[in-house]
Subunit: 383 residues, 2 copies
Amino acid sequence: MRVHEQDLEPLSVGAAILGAGGGGDPLIGKLMAQQAMAEHGAVELLDAADLEDEAVVFPVAMMGAPTVFLEKIPAGDETSLAVQRMERHLNQRVTALCPVECGGMNSMIPFVVAARMGLPVVDGDGMGRAFPELQMETFHVFGVSGTPACIADEWGNVVLFETVDNYRLESFARACTVKMGGYSHLVDYPMTGAQMKQSAVRGTISMCIQLGRALEDAKREHRNPVEAVLAATAGTLYGHGVRLFFGKVVDVSRRTRDGFAVGKAVLRGVEQDADREMTIEFQNENLVALVDGEVVATVPDIIALLDPETGLPVTNERLRYGQRAVVIGIPTPQIMRTDAALAVWGPRQFGYDVPFIPLEQKNAAFYRQVGVPKDKEHLLAAK
Amino acid sequence: MRVHEQDLEPLSVGAAILGAGGGGDPLIGKLMAQQAMAEHGAVELLDAADLEDEAVVFPVAMMGAPTVFLEKIPAGDETSLAVQRMERHLNQRVTALCPVECGGMNSMIPFVVAARMGLPVVDGDGMGRAFPELQMETFHVFGVSGTPACIADEWGNVVLFETVDNYRLESFARACTVKMGGYSHLVDYPMTGAQMKQSAVRGTISMCIQLGRALEDAKREHRNPVEAVLAATAGTLYGHGVRLFFGKVVDVSRRTRDGFAVGKAVLRGVEQDADREMTIEFQNENLVALVDGEVVATVPDIIALLDPETGLPVTNERLRYGQRAVVIGIPTPQIMRTDAALAVWGPRQFGYDVPFIPLEQKNAAFYRQVGVPKDKEHLLAAK
C-alpha cells in the first residue's frame, strides 16, 4: 500500500481523533507532508509484519508545544537533519520510519521525511494515541531504549542523548526543546524490525486513514458523521467506539504547567443527556471523563470530542464556551493496557486516584451487542 | 614540571583568588584531586609552548551550582566518562587536558582526570579567572568551536552537543545540567595544540600555585599575607595586584537568578579607608567595585576579597556581615581585554552601563612605580 497526497487529509483527521484532544493541530503537518509528496511522490506504507528483523527503524516526531508550530513554521528538512545525524551516530542506514504517536502533527511528520528521503513508513507507532512524554511509548514498555536519541532545530543545532533510562531522555530533551524555542525535531527509540514487530501498536496509520475516509464518505452521502466514525472503528484492533455524551461546553479552564496544557472542560448535556453534566480532565490529552461525578472513561482509552455537524475532532486548544460536542470513547488495543503499560500511562501516572476500567467493561451491554476483538473477550466474561 | 599532591593546596588557594569571588569552594575539588594523586601519582604540567600543534586538548570542568557539590559529592570518575565519550565521538585520543577557568573547583578537575588517565595538564585555561558561562572563554574569542561538547552525570547519562554557536551550547548544556541535579561533568572546546597555543590564557596554573605558595611562606615567616599575595603577582603575565580597599562587610544582598548568585556587598572602610564605602556588584563572580559611587575596578580585571589575617580568599557564598576584608584588584592579561574579548565579558555584557577601565590606567601612579608587563606599557602612556 502507498500513502498518496490525497490520503493525508483523512489521515490527519483520523489521527486527531486518536489524538484524544491532544497531538497538535493537523494543519501545519498536513501542509508540510502535502508539499513533500507533491515534490517527491507517494510513500510506501509497510505492514509491521513485513519488516525484516534486521531492518533499522527510526521513530520520528516533533517534540514540544504544538501552538508554537503555528507561529514558527518549520522549513520541512529539520527532521531529515536529525535522521541523518542519527544514521551517522549509529553508523547505520535507516530502512524505515514510523510515527511515535497518533496525532494531528506527529502522524504527518514521518511522511514529510519519508517522501524527502525515499523511505517507507511502518504502519504502527509507539503510543496508539497521543501522550505528552517520551517514555510513554509501547517501545519503552517493551524495554527498547529511547536512546541514542537526537533532537535538531531549524538552525542546525543538534543534541544527542545517551541516557540510562527513558525518563531521563524525556527530562533532558524537554529542557533542550524549550531552549530551542519551544519545539524540536526528534528521532528516538532507534530499533530493529524485530523490536518494532514486538513493541509497536500496529495498523494505526491505516486505521486513521479509515476513520478520516469514513467522515468524507458520510459527508458525501449525508449520513450522520459521528455514527460513521463509530462504525469505522468496528473490526479494528481497537474495537468499536462508543458514544459517551452529547453536550454543550459551559466551562473550560486551562493553564500551562511545565509546558503542558492542564485543565478541564465541563459540558452540560443536551437531548438524551439533558440534566446530566460531563467533566473532562485533560493534560494536553483528555485523560478522565466523568458524568455527574462518575468516571465513565479513563486513559489510555481514547476520549475524543467530535463536532456533531461535521464529525471532525475538536482538539483541546480549540475548545470554546458554547461549543456543542459529541464525546466518544474508543477502546485501546490490549498492548496498551497491560500492567506494564498502565504503570507508564495509567490514570494514576497522571495524578488521578482512579483505576483504569476498560470501556468494554463499563459498557458491557453495548459491547456484547457489537462484539469485541478476540483478545478482549475475557473483559465481557469478567463482567 | 610536575604537579604533586602537596601543590594542590596552594593551587586551590591561588585559583580561588583568581576566581574573583566565584569559581566554587575549593574543598571538594581539592579532596578529589588529592585522592586521585594519592592513587595514581603526580601529573605532568605542560607549558603551552611545548604542545605539539597536532596535540588533542580537552578542556574539562564541572558545570553548575558549586553549592550542590557540597551536598552531592562526585564519585570522581564522572569526568573521565565524559572524556572517554568525547574521544569515541571524535574518534581521537586526547593527549592533554586543561582547565576551562581558574576557580576553587575547576582548577582541580583536570588533575582529578589527568591522574586517573595518565595524561598531562596544560598550564593555561580559557578564562584566566572564573566566569559563569561557557561562551566566556578566550577559546570562543579566538573562534574555537565549543562543540562537539559532552556532559555526563553520576548515573552515566551522557548528552552530546553540536551547536552552530557557543551561546547555544551554553543554553542547552545549562538546561540539561539543571535536570542532571544541579551540576554536570563537562568536556567542551576540544582543540588542537595549535589552537590552544593561540587562544589560551597561559601560565595560569603555575601562577595560582605561586600565589598560594606566597601565602604559605608569609604565614611561616609571619609576614603580612595580603602584601605577600600582591608581591607574588609581580612579574606575572597579569601584572602587579593593587590594594583597593580595607573594610568591614555591612550588607550582603544575594538572590538566585537563572541559576546564578546575583547581588552586592557593601563594605564600610576601616583604617586608611575610614569614612569611605565600597560596593561590590557580583553575579557569581565580583564584576564591578565602586568606592563612594566611583567605579574603581571592573570585569574582566580581578576583584578579590582577602581575609586580612590569613590572606585567604573569601568566596561570595561565604561572605558574611561583620567580616573584615582587604579588597584587591589584579589586572588581567591583554588577551582578556581585547575588543573581541570585552564584547563577550565586558561590564556591559553583564548589564552594567560602565566601560572597562584597566586597573593600570585607574592606578597609573602606582603602576609607574611597580612597572607593568611590556605589552601593557601603552596603558600608562595613554594616561
